[in-house]
Protein backbone atom coordinates (compact mmCIF):
# COMPACT_ATOMS: atom_id res chain seq x y z
CA UNK A 1 0.00 0.00 0.00
CA UNK A 2 1.26 3.43 -0.98
CA UNK A 3 1.79 5.95 1.78
CA UNK A 4 -0.56 8.36 -0.04
CA UNK A 5 -3.25 5.63 -0.07
CA UNK A 6 -2.77 5.12 3.66
CA UNK A 7 -3.21 8.84 4.33
CA UNK A 8 -6.16 8.98 1.95
CA UNK A 9 -7.95 6.22 3.90
CA UNK A 10 -7.06 7.89 7.21
CA UNK A 11 -8.33 11.28 6.01
CA UNK A 12 -11.55 9.83 4.63
CA UNK A 13 -12.11 7.85 7.83
CA UNK A 14 -11.73 10.99 9.94
CA UNK A 15 -13.99 12.88 7.52
CA UNK A 16 -16.61 10.16 8.03
CA UNK A 17 -16.46 10.81 11.77
CA UNK A 18 -16.94 14.53 11.15
CA UNK A 19 -19.94 13.94 8.89
CA UNK A 20 -21.45 11.64 11.43
CA UNK A 21 -20.26 13.33 14.60
CA UNK A 22 -23.15 12.54 16.99
CA UNK A 23 -23.26 8.84 16.20
CA UNK A 24 -19.48 8.72 16.44
CA UNK A 25 -19.50 10.49 19.80
CA UNK A 26 -22.18 8.15 21.12
CA UNK A 27 -20.14 5.13 20.05
CA UNK A 28 -16.94 6.54 21.53
CA UNK A 29 -18.79 7.34 24.79
CA UNK A 30 -20.11 3.80 25.13
CA UNK A 31 -16.68 2.35 24.40
CA UNK A 32 -15.24 4.78 26.95
CA UNK A 33 -17.77 3.65 29.56
CA UNK A 34 -17.01 0.03 28.78
CA UNK A 35 -13.25 0.49 28.95
CA UNK A 36 -13.48 2.66 32.05
CA UNK A 37 -15.33 -0.15 33.83
CA UNK A 38 -12.89 -2.65 32.41
CA UNK A 39 -9.96 -0.62 33.77
CA UNK A 40 -11.60 -0.40 37.20
CA UNK A 41 -12.18 -4.14 37.33
CA UNK A 42 -8.73 -4.75 35.89
CA UNK A 43 -7.14 -2.64 38.64
CA UNK A 44 -9.29 -4.25 41.32
CA UNK A 45 -8.69 -7.80 40.14
CA UNK A 46 -4.97 -7.21 39.68
CA UNK A 47 -4.68 -5.72 43.15
CA UNK A 48 -6.69 -8.48 44.79
CA UNK A 49 -4.56 -11.04 42.98
CA UNK A 50 -1.50 -9.17 44.17
CA UNK A 51 -2.81 -9.29 47.73
CA UNK A 52 -3.60 -12.99 47.33
CA UNK A 53 -0.04 -13.58 46.15
CA UNK A 54 1.25 -11.60 49.09
CA UNK A 55 -1.00 -13.63 51.37
CA UNK A 56 0.22 -16.84 49.81
CA UNK A 57 3.77 -15.91 50.69
CA UNK A 58 2.97 -14.66 54.18
CA UNK A 59 -0.07 -16.66 55.28
CA UNK A 60 1.05 -20.18 55.93
CA UNK A 61 -0.02 -23.30 57.80
CA UNK A 62 1.81 -24.15 61.04
CA UNK A 63 1.75 -27.71 62.35
CA UNK A 64 2.77 -28.86 65.82
CA UNK A 65 3.59 -32.41 66.79
CA UNK A 66 2.66 -34.74 69.64
CA UNK A 67 4.71 -34.60 72.83
CA UNK A 68 7.60 -37.04 73.08
CA UNK A 69 8.01 -37.49 69.35
CA UNK A 70 11.63 -37.55 68.22
CA UNK A 71 13.17 -34.94 65.95
CA UNK A 72 13.97 -37.63 63.36
CA UNK A 73 10.30 -38.56 63.18
CA UNK A 74 9.32 -34.89 62.79
CA UNK A 75 11.84 -34.45 59.97
CA UNK A 76 10.47 -37.56 58.24
CA UNK A 77 6.96 -36.09 58.36
CA UNK A 78 8.47 -32.84 57.01
CA UNK A 79 9.87 -34.75 54.03
CA UNK A 80 6.48 -36.21 53.21
CA UNK A 81 4.96 -32.69 53.46
CA UNK A 82 7.57 -31.32 51.03
CA UNK A 83 6.78 -34.09 48.55
CA UNK A 84 3.22 -32.75 48.10
CA UNK A 85 2.84 -30.92 44.79
CA UNK A 86 0.90 -27.99 46.27
CA UNK A 87 3.66 -27.15 48.78
CA UNK A 88 5.97 -24.31 47.83
CA UNK A 89 8.07 -24.36 50.95
CA UNK A 90 8.08 -26.17 54.30
CA UNK A 91 10.36 -24.74 56.94
CA UNK A 92 11.29 -26.67 60.08
CA UNK A 93 11.39 -24.65 63.28
CA UNK A 94 13.05 -26.57 66.06
CA UNK A 95 12.02 -26.11 69.69
CA UNK A 96 15.19 -24.08 70.31
CA UNK A 97 14.56 -21.80 67.36
CA UNK A 98 10.95 -21.34 68.49
CA UNK A 99 12.12 -20.31 71.96
CA UNK A 100 14.68 -17.92 70.49
CA UNK A 101 12.05 -16.31 68.30
CA UNK A 102 9.70 -16.07 71.26
CA UNK A 103 12.34 -14.37 73.36
CA UNK A 104 13.11 -11.88 70.60
CA UNK A 105 9.46 -11.00 70.22
CA UNK A 106 8.26 -10.91 73.82
CA UNK A 107 11.32 -10.25 75.99
CA UNK A 108 12.78 -7.47 73.92
CA UNK A 109 14.65 -5.14 76.29
CA UNK A 110 13.91 -7.46 79.24
CA UNK A 111 16.21 -10.33 78.32
CA UNK A 112 17.04 -10.98 81.99
CA UNK A 113 13.49 -12.22 82.52
CA UNK A 114 14.04 -15.00 80.02
CA UNK A 115 17.28 -16.09 81.66
CA UNK A 116 15.30 -18.05 84.24
CA UNK A 117 14.42 -20.50 81.53
CA UNK A 118 18.03 -20.86 80.36
CA UNK A 119 18.24 -24.61 80.95
CA UNK A 120 14.59 -25.41 80.67
CA UNK A 121 13.07 -24.60 77.29
CA UNK A 122 9.36 -23.94 77.97
CA UNK A 123 8.66 -24.64 74.27
CA UNK A 124 10.43 -28.00 74.35
CA UNK A 125 7.50 -29.69 72.62
CA UNK A 126 6.84 -26.88 70.18
CA UNK A 127 8.92 -27.93 67.21
CA UNK A 128 6.87 -27.08 64.16
CA UNK A 129 6.72 -26.82 60.40
CA UNK A 130 5.69 -23.63 58.64
CA UNK A 131 4.16 -24.63 55.34
CA UNK A 132 3.67 -22.19 52.44
CA UNK A 133 1.51 -23.25 49.50
CA UNK A 134 1.82 -22.44 45.81
CA UNK A 135 -1.82 -21.37 45.71
CA UNK A 136 -3.97 -20.29 48.58
CA UNK A 137 -6.85 -22.20 46.96
CA UNK A 138 -5.20 -25.49 48.03
CA UNK A 139 -5.20 -24.61 51.71
CA UNK A 140 -8.38 -26.49 52.68
CA UNK A 141 -7.22 -29.71 50.96
CA UNK A 142 -3.81 -29.47 52.57
CA UNK A 143 -5.25 -28.98 56.07
CA UNK A 144 -7.50 -32.00 55.50
CA UNK A 145 -4.50 -34.10 54.55
CA UNK A 146 -2.40 -32.88 57.50
CA UNK A 147 -5.30 -33.83 59.79
CA UNK A 148 -4.88 -37.48 58.78
CA UNK A 149 -1.30 -37.62 60.14
CA UNK A 150 -1.63 -39.03 63.68
CA UNK A 151 1.60 -37.44 64.99
CA UNK A 152 0.32 -33.94 64.29
CA UNK A 153 -1.19 -32.41 67.39
CA UNK A 154 -2.28 -29.01 66.13
CA UNK A 155 -2.73 -27.19 62.83
CA UNK A 156 -2.80 -23.37 62.76
CA UNK A 157 -4.08 -21.65 59.64
CA UNK A 158 -6.25 -18.76 58.62
CA UNK A 159 -9.18 -20.09 56.68
CA UNK A 160 -10.88 -16.71 56.41
CA UNK A 161 -7.98 -14.90 54.77
CA UNK A 162 -7.48 -17.68 52.27
CA UNK A 163 -10.99 -18.42 51.21
CA UNK A 164 -12.12 -14.81 51.55
CA UNK A 165 -9.51 -13.42 49.17
CA UNK A 166 -9.92 -16.31 46.81
CA UNK A 167 -13.70 -16.08 46.65
CA UNK A 168 -13.70 -12.30 46.35
CA UNK A 169 -11.30 -12.48 43.45
CA UNK A 170 -13.36 -15.12 41.68
CA UNK A 171 -16.58 -13.17 42.17
CA UNK A 172 -14.95 -9.96 40.98
CA UNK A 173 -13.62 -11.66 37.86
CA UNK A 174 -17.02 -13.13 37.04
CA UNK A 175 -18.89 -9.89 37.64
CA UNK A 176 -16.44 -7.87 35.58
CA UNK A 177 -16.58 -10.40 32.74
CA UNK A 178 -20.39 -10.25 32.61
CA UNK A 179 -20.56 -6.44 32.69
CA UNK A 180 -17.78 -6.03 30.15
CA UNK A 181 -19.30 -8.55 27.74
CA UNK A 182 -22.66 -6.75 27.87
CA UNK A 183 -21.03 -3.35 27.33
CA UNK A 184 -18.86 -4.67 24.52
CA UNK A 185 -21.94 -6.02 22.77
CA UNK A 186 -23.64 -2.62 23.11
CA UNK A 187 -20.48 -0.88 21.83
CA UNK A 188 -20.25 -3.21 18.84
CA UNK A 189 -23.92 -2.58 18.05
CA UNK A 190 -23.44 1.20 18.23
CA UNK A 191 -20.32 1.11 16.08
CA UNK A 192 -22.18 -1.00 13.57
CA UNK A 193 -24.98 1.60 13.42
CA UNK A 194 -22.48 4.44 13.12
CA UNK A 195 -20.76 2.72 10.22
CA UNK A 196 -24.06 1.97 8.50
CA UNK A 197 -25.02 5.64 8.76
CA UNK A 198 -21.62 6.66 7.39
CA UNK A 199 -22.08 4.22 4.50
CA UNK A 200 -25.49 5.75 3.76
CA UNK A 201 -23.89 9.24 3.71
CA UNK A 202 -21.30 8.03 1.22
CA UNK A 203 -23.57 5.90 -0.94
CA UNK A 204 -23.05 8.00 -4.11
CA UNK A 205 -19.33 8.26 -3.56
CA UNK A 206 -19.04 4.51 -3.05
CA UNK A 207 -21.00 3.80 -6.20
CA UNK A 208 -18.73 6.08 -8.23
CA UNK A 209 -15.66 4.50 -6.64
CA UNK A 210 -16.93 1.07 -7.56
CA UNK A 211 -17.54 2.01 -11.18
CA UNK A 212 -14.19 3.77 -11.50
CA UNK A 213 -12.45 0.57 -10.46
CA UNK A 214 -11.60 1.15 -6.81
CA UNK A 215 -10.85 -2.09 -5.02
CA UNK A 216 -13.01 -3.39 -2.19
CA UNK A 217 -10.18 -2.51 0.18
CA UNK A 218 -10.14 1.12 -0.97
CA UNK A 219 -13.91 1.43 -0.60
CA UNK A 220 -14.10 -0.24 2.79
CA UNK A 221 -10.89 1.05 4.37
CA UNK A 222 -12.22 4.54 5.35
CA UNK A 223 -15.06 2.90 7.29
CA UNK A 224 -12.73 0.52 9.08
CA UNK A 225 -10.43 3.47 9.87
CA UNK A 226 -13.48 5.27 11.26
CA UNK A 227 -14.24 2.31 13.55
CA UNK A 228 -10.62 2.04 14.67
CA UNK A 229 -10.35 5.78 15.41
CA UNK A 230 -13.60 5.69 17.43
CA UNK A 231 -12.28 2.66 19.33
CA UNK A 232 -8.92 4.33 19.93
CA UNK A 233 -10.48 7.53 21.25
CA UNK A 234 -12.95 5.46 23.27
CA UNK A 235 -10.01 3.69 24.93
CA UNK A 236 -7.71 6.69 25.35
CA UNK A 237 -10.18 8.84 27.33
CA UNK A 238 -10.84 6.32 30.15
CA UNK A 239 -7.16 5.35 30.29
CA UNK A 240 -6.16 8.95 30.98
CA UNK A 241 -8.86 9.28 33.65
CA UNK A 242 -8.02 5.93 35.23
CA UNK A 243 -4.34 6.89 35.40
CA UNK A 244 -5.07 9.89 37.58
CA UNK A 245 -7.93 8.24 39.44
CA UNK A 246 -5.81 5.22 40.38
CA UNK A 247 -2.95 7.36 41.63
CA UNK A 248 -5.28 9.47 43.75
CA UNK A 249 -7.23 6.46 45.03
CA UNK A 250 -4.07 4.63 46.16
CA UNK A 251 -2.74 7.78 47.83
CA UNK A 252 -6.10 8.31 49.57
CA UNK A 253 -6.33 4.69 50.77
CA UNK A 254 -2.80 4.74 52.12
CA UNK A 255 -3.43 8.02 53.89
CA UNK A 256 -6.83 7.16 55.38
CA UNK A 257 -6.28 3.47 56.03
CA UNK A 258 -2.54 3.47 56.65
CA UNK A 259 -3.18 1.22 59.61
CA UNK A 260 -4.10 -1.55 57.20
CA UNK A 261 -0.95 -1.12 55.15
CA UNK A 262 0.25 -4.56 56.27
CA UNK A 263 -2.83 -6.17 54.79
CA UNK A 264 -3.35 -3.92 51.81
CA UNK A 265 -0.51 -3.33 49.47
CA UNK A 266 -1.34 -1.81 46.08
CA UNK A 267 0.45 -2.32 42.78
CA UNK A 268 2.27 0.89 41.83
CA UNK A 269 0.70 2.71 38.84
CA UNK A 270 3.86 2.39 36.73
CA UNK A 271 3.66 -1.40 37.09
CA UNK A 272 -0.03 -1.89 36.40
CA UNK A 273 -0.54 0.83 33.76
CA UNK A 274 1.43 -0.53 30.76
CA UNK A 275 -0.48 -3.82 30.89
CA UNK A 276 -3.77 -1.97 31.36
CA UNK A 277 -3.03 0.28 28.35
CA UNK A 278 -2.19 -2.69 26.16
CA UNK A 279 -5.35 -4.62 27.05
CA UNK A 280 -7.66 -1.56 26.95
CA UNK A 281 -6.27 -0.44 23.58
CA UNK A 282 -6.64 -3.93 22.19
CA UNK A 283 -10.24 -3.95 23.40
CA UNK A 284 -11.08 -0.47 22.09
CA UNK A 285 -9.34 -0.72 18.75
CA UNK A 286 -10.40 -4.36 18.44
CA UNK A 287 -14.09 -3.65 18.96
CA UNK A 288 -13.84 -0.69 16.57
CA UNK A 289 -12.18 -2.82 13.94
CA UNK A 290 -14.45 -5.85 14.31
CA UNK A 291 -17.65 -3.75 14.48
CA UNK A 292 -16.81 -1.71 11.39
CA UNK A 293 -15.18 -4.47 9.35
CA UNK A 294 -18.07 -6.91 9.60
CA UNK A 295 -20.73 -4.22 9.19
CA UNK A 296 -19.17 -2.82 6.04
CA UNK A 297 -18.49 -6.27 4.66
CA UNK A 298 -22.12 -7.16 5.10
CA UNK A 299 -23.77 -3.94 4.02
CA UNK A 300 -21.56 -2.36 1.39
CA UNK A 301 -21.58 -3.78 -2.11
CA UNK A 302 -18.15 -3.51 -3.69
Amino acid sequence: MRISTFFYCLKEGIKNIGRNIWFSLASAAIISACIFLFCLFFALTANVQYMVRMAESTVGITVFFDEGISEAEILAIGDSIRERSEVKEARYISAEEAWENFQKEYFKGMEELAEGFADDNPLADSASYEIYLKSIDDQAGMVEWLDTIPEIRKINYSSDTASGLSNFNRMLGLLSAVIIIILLAVAAFLISNTIMTAAAFRRDENKIMRLIGATGFMIRAPFVVEGIVIGFVGAAIPLISVYFLYRSAVAYMMEKFGILSNLMEFIPIQEIFPEMVAVAMMLGVGIGFVGSFFTIRRHLKV
Binding site: K207, M209, M218
Partner: protein, 228 residues
Protein backbone atom coordinates in the same frame (compact mmCIF):
# COMPACT_ATOMS: atom_id res chain seq x y z
CA UNK B 1 -12.82 -5.11 -29.29
CA UNK B 2 -16.15 -5.99 -27.72
CA UNK B 3 -17.78 -9.28 -28.73
CA UNK B 4 -21.22 -10.06 -27.38
CA UNK B 5 -22.46 -13.52 -28.32
CA UNK B 6 -25.94 -15.05 -27.73
CA UNK B 7 -26.41 -12.84 -24.70
CA UNK B 8 -29.50 -13.38 -22.57
CA UNK B 9 -30.51 -11.71 -19.37
CA UNK B 10 -33.55 -12.71 -17.36
CA UNK B 11 -34.14 -10.88 -14.09
CA UNK B 12 -35.37 -12.69 -10.98
CA UNK B 13 -38.89 -11.36 -11.48
CA UNK B 14 -38.93 -13.19 -14.81
CA UNK B 15 -38.42 -10.14 -17.05
CA UNK B 16 -36.37 -11.00 -20.15
CA UNK B 17 -34.25 -7.90 -20.61
CA UNK B 18 -32.04 -9.25 -23.42
CA UNK B 19 -32.72 -12.05 -25.88
CA UNK B 20 -29.95 -13.63 -27.93
CA UNK B 21 -28.07 -10.39 -28.46
CA UNK B 22 -25.06 -10.54 -30.79
CA UNK B 23 -22.95 -7.39 -31.21
CA UNK B 24 -19.35 -6.79 -32.22
CA UNK B 25 -17.72 -3.40 -31.68
CA UNK B 26 -14.24 -2.82 -33.10
CA UNK B 27 -11.48 -0.89 -31.34
CA UNK B 28 -11.79 2.86 -31.85
CA UNK B 29 -15.42 2.71 -33.03
CA UNK B 30 -18.08 5.29 -32.12
CA UNK B 31 -21.38 3.48 -31.60
CA UNK B 32 -24.84 4.62 -30.56
CA UNK B 33 -27.17 2.21 -28.79
CA UNK B 34 -30.75 3.32 -29.18
CA UNK B 35 -34.03 2.07 -27.85
CA UNK B 36 -37.15 2.90 -25.87
CA UNK B 37 -37.43 2.49 -22.13
CA UNK B 38 -37.34 -1.21 -21.35
CA UNK B 39 -35.53 -2.07 -24.58
CA UNK B 40 -32.55 -3.45 -22.68
CA UNK B 41 -30.05 -0.57 -23.19
CA UNK B 42 -29.39 -0.08 -19.50
CA UNK B 43 -29.09 -3.82 -18.91
CA UNK B 44 -26.51 -3.97 -21.67
CA UNK B 45 -24.56 -1.14 -20.02
CA UNK B 46 -24.73 -2.88 -16.65
CA UNK B 47 -23.46 -6.08 -18.22
CA UNK B 48 -20.57 -4.24 -19.88
CA UNK B 49 -19.73 -2.63 -16.53
CA UNK B 50 -20.00 -6.05 -14.89
CA UNK B 51 -22.58 -4.73 -12.46
CA UNK B 52 -24.79 -7.71 -13.21
CA UNK B 53 -24.26 -11.18 -14.65
CA UNK B 54 -25.84 -12.50 -17.85
CA UNK B 55 -28.17 -15.49 -17.70
CA UNK B 56 -26.37 -17.00 -20.69
CA UNK B 57 -24.05 -16.00 -23.51
CA UNK B 58 -20.63 -14.39 -23.56
CA UNK B 59 -19.19 -10.91 -23.37
CA UNK B 60 -15.56 -10.51 -24.36
CA UNK B 61 -13.99 -7.09 -23.89
CA UNK B 62 -10.43 -6.67 -25.13
CA UNK B 63 -9.85 -10.43 -24.82
CA UNK B 64 -11.29 -10.58 -21.31
CA UNK B 65 -14.26 -12.91 -20.92
CA UNK B 66 -16.55 -11.06 -18.50
CA UNK B 67 -18.71 -14.12 -17.93
CA UNK B 68 -15.76 -16.01 -16.47
CA UNK B 69 -14.01 -13.13 -14.75
CA UNK B 70 -13.40 -13.71 -11.01
CA UNK B 71 -14.67 -10.93 -8.74
CA UNK B 72 -11.20 -9.86 -7.72
CA UNK B 73 -10.36 -8.84 -11.30
CA UNK B 74 -13.45 -6.64 -11.69
CA UNK B 75 -11.85 -3.41 -10.32
CA UNK B 76 -8.91 -3.80 -12.71
CA UNK B 77 -11.28 -4.40 -15.60
CA UNK B 78 -13.34 -1.32 -14.72
CA UNK B 79 -10.21 0.82 -14.76
CA UNK B 80 -10.07 0.13 -18.48
CA UNK B 81 -13.53 1.66 -18.91
CA UNK B 82 -14.73 5.22 -18.49
CA UNK B 83 -18.36 5.83 -17.54
CA UNK B 84 -20.54 8.91 -17.98
CA UNK B 85 -24.13 9.14 -16.70
CA UNK B 86 -27.14 11.25 -17.53
CA UNK B 87 -27.20 12.72 -14.00
CA UNK B 88 -23.42 13.41 -14.02
CA UNK B 89 -22.92 11.84 -10.56
CA UNK B 90 -20.41 14.42 -9.42
CA UNK B 91 -19.51 14.73 -5.76
CA UNK B 92 -21.10 17.97 -4.61
CA UNK B 93 -18.65 18.64 -1.80
CA UNK B 94 -15.64 18.43 -4.10
CA UNK B 95 -14.36 21.01 -6.56
CA UNK B 96 -14.01 20.33 -10.30
CA UNK B 97 -10.34 19.52 -9.78
CA UNK B 98 -11.09 17.22 -6.82
CA UNK B 99 -13.86 15.41 -8.70
CA UNK B 100 -11.49 14.55 -11.53
CA UNK B 101 -8.60 13.77 -9.18
CA UNK B 102 -10.92 11.52 -7.15
CA UNK B 103 -10.98 8.99 -10.01
CA UNK B 104 -7.22 8.64 -9.73
CA UNK B 105 -6.91 8.85 -5.96
CA UNK B 106 -9.24 5.92 -5.37
CA UNK B 107 -7.19 3.63 -7.57
CA UNK B 108 -3.96 4.62 -5.83
CA UNK B 109 -2.35 6.83 -8.52
CA UNK B 110 0.58 8.81 -7.03
CA UNK B 111 -0.23 12.46 -6.24
CA UNK B 112 2.49 13.74 -8.56
CA UNK B 113 0.89 11.92 -11.52
CA UNK B 114 -2.55 13.21 -10.52
CA UNK B 115 -1.20 16.78 -10.54
CA UNK B 116 -0.04 16.25 -14.14
CA UNK B 117 -3.12 14.40 -15.44
CA UNK B 118 -5.99 16.42 -14.01
CA UNK B 119 -5.09 19.81 -15.54
CA UNK B 120 -4.54 18.05 -18.88
CA UNK B 121 -8.02 16.51 -18.73
CA UNK B 122 -9.59 19.81 -17.73
CA UNK B 123 -7.90 21.44 -20.74
CA UNK B 124 -9.30 18.71 -22.98
CA UNK B 125 -12.87 19.35 -21.81
CA UNK B 126 -12.37 23.13 -21.77
CA UNK B 127 -12.78 23.69 -18.04
CA UNK B 128 -9.27 24.75 -16.98
CA UNK B 129 -10.50 28.07 -15.67
CA UNK B 130 -13.19 26.48 -13.50
CA UNK B 131 -11.06 23.98 -11.62
CA UNK B 132 -11.92 25.57 -8.26
CA UNK B 133 -15.68 25.67 -8.87
CA UNK B 134 -18.12 23.32 -7.17
CA UNK B 135 -20.63 21.33 -9.28
CA UNK B 136 -23.58 23.51 -8.21
CA UNK B 137 -21.76 26.56 -9.63
CA UNK B 138 -21.62 24.98 -13.10
CA UNK B 139 -24.17 24.63 -15.92
CA UNK B 140 -25.46 21.18 -16.89
CA UNK B 141 -23.14 21.07 -19.88
CA UNK B 142 -20.15 21.99 -17.76
CA UNK B 143 -21.04 19.37 -15.16
CA UNK B 144 -21.18 16.74 -17.90
CA UNK B 145 -17.76 17.89 -19.12
CA UNK B 146 -16.39 17.36 -15.62
CA UNK B 147 -17.94 13.88 -15.61
CA UNK B 148 -16.27 13.17 -18.98
CA UNK B 149 -12.91 14.43 -17.69
CA UNK B 150 -13.31 12.14 -14.68
CA UNK B 151 -14.14 9.21 -16.95
CA UNK B 152 -11.11 9.88 -19.14
CA UNK B 153 -8.46 10.68 -16.58
CA UNK B 154 -7.50 7.04 -16.14
CA UNK B 155 -7.00 6.70 -19.94
CA UNK B 156 -9.70 4.08 -20.52
CA UNK B 157 -9.81 2.02 -23.70
CA UNK B 158 -13.60 2.27 -23.82
CA UNK B 159 -15.91 5.14 -22.83
CA UNK B 160 -19.48 4.16 -21.94
CA UNK B 161 -21.90 7.09 -21.91
CA UNK B 162 -25.40 6.41 -20.62
CA UNK B 163 -27.73 9.14 -21.94
CA UNK B 164 -24.99 11.78 -21.58
CA UNK B 165 -27.20 14.48 -23.08
CA UNK B 166 -30.42 13.46 -21.37
CA UNK B 167 -30.37 16.47 -19.01
CA UNK B 168 -28.98 19.00 -21.51
CA UNK B 169 -30.43 21.43 -24.04
CA UNK B 170 -29.75 21.01 -27.76
CA UNK B 171 -26.77 23.35 -27.82
CA UNK B 172 -25.02 21.71 -24.86
CA UNK B 173 -25.92 18.26 -26.19
CA UNK B 174 -24.11 18.92 -29.46
CA UNK B 175 -21.12 20.33 -27.58
CA UNK B 176 -20.89 17.16 -25.52
CA UNK B 177 -21.20 15.05 -28.65
CA UNK B 178 -18.41 17.08 -30.22
CA UNK B 179 -16.27 16.38 -27.17
CA UNK B 180 -17.02 12.65 -27.37
CA UNK B 181 -16.01 12.69 -31.04
CA UNK B 182 -12.75 14.40 -30.11
CA UNK B 183 -12.12 11.67 -27.54
CA UNK B 184 -12.94 9.02 -30.14
CA UNK B 185 -10.44 10.61 -32.51
CA UNK B 186 -7.76 10.03 -29.87
CA UNK B 187 -8.42 6.28 -30.25
CA UNK B 188 -10.90 5.60 -27.43
CA UNK B 189 -13.86 3.37 -28.30
CA UNK B 190 -17.02 5.35 -27.49
CA UNK B 191 -20.40 3.72 -26.81
CA UNK B 192 -23.27 6.13 -26.30
CA UNK B 193 -26.69 5.02 -25.09
CA UNK B 194 -29.31 7.53 -26.18
CA UNK B 195 -32.88 7.86 -27.31
CA UNK B 196 -32.30 11.13 -29.18
CA UNK B 197 -32.93 10.50 -32.86
CA UNK B 198 -31.79 14.05 -33.57
CA UNK B 199 -28.32 13.53 -32.16
CA UNK B 200 -27.94 10.16 -33.83
CA UNK B 201 -28.94 11.61 -37.20
CA UNK B 202 -26.56 14.53 -36.91
CA UNK B 203 -23.59 12.41 -35.87
CA UNK B 204 -23.85 9.92 -38.72
CA UNK B 205 -22.26 7.04 -36.81
CA UNK B 206 -23.09 3.37 -36.36
CA UNK B 207 -26.39 2.82 -34.55
CA UNK B 208 -27.52 -0.38 -32.85
CA UNK B 209 -31.24 -0.32 -32.13
CA UNK B 210 -32.64 -2.47 -29.35
CA UNK B 211 -36.30 -3.26 -28.89
CA UNK B 212 -37.71 -5.39 -26.10
CA UNK B 213 -34.36 -7.06 -25.58
CA UNK B 214 -33.49 -7.92 -29.16
CA UNK B 215 -31.23 -6.19 -31.68
CA UNK B 216 -33.76 -4.70 -34.04
CA UNK B 217 -31.24 -3.09 -36.33
CA UNK B 218 -27.47 -2.82 -36.63
CA UNK B 219 -27.44 -1.77 -40.21
CA UNK B 220 -25.50 1.44 -40.08
CA UNK B 221 -26.00 5.15 -39.72
CA UNK B 222 -29.18 6.74 -38.49
CA UNK B 223 -31.00 3.73 -37.08
CA UNK B 224 -34.66 2.90 -37.49
CA UNK B 225 -35.85 3.86 -34.05
CA UNK B 226 -38.90 6.04 -33.94
CA UNK B 227 -38.91 8.27 -30.87
CA UNK B 228 -42.65 8.46 -30.92
Amino acid sequence: MIEITDLNKVYKAGTRALKNVNITIEDGEFVFIMGRSGSGKSTLMKLLLKETEPTSGRIIVNDMDLTRMPRRYVPKYRRRLGVVFQDFRLLKDKTVYENVAFAQRVIGVPIRTIRENVPEMLRLVGLSSKYKSYPNELSGGEQQRVAIARALVNSPEILLADEPTGNLDAHNSMEIMGLLEKINDRGTTVIVVTHSQEIVSQMGRRVITLDRGIVLDDSGEGGIYDEN
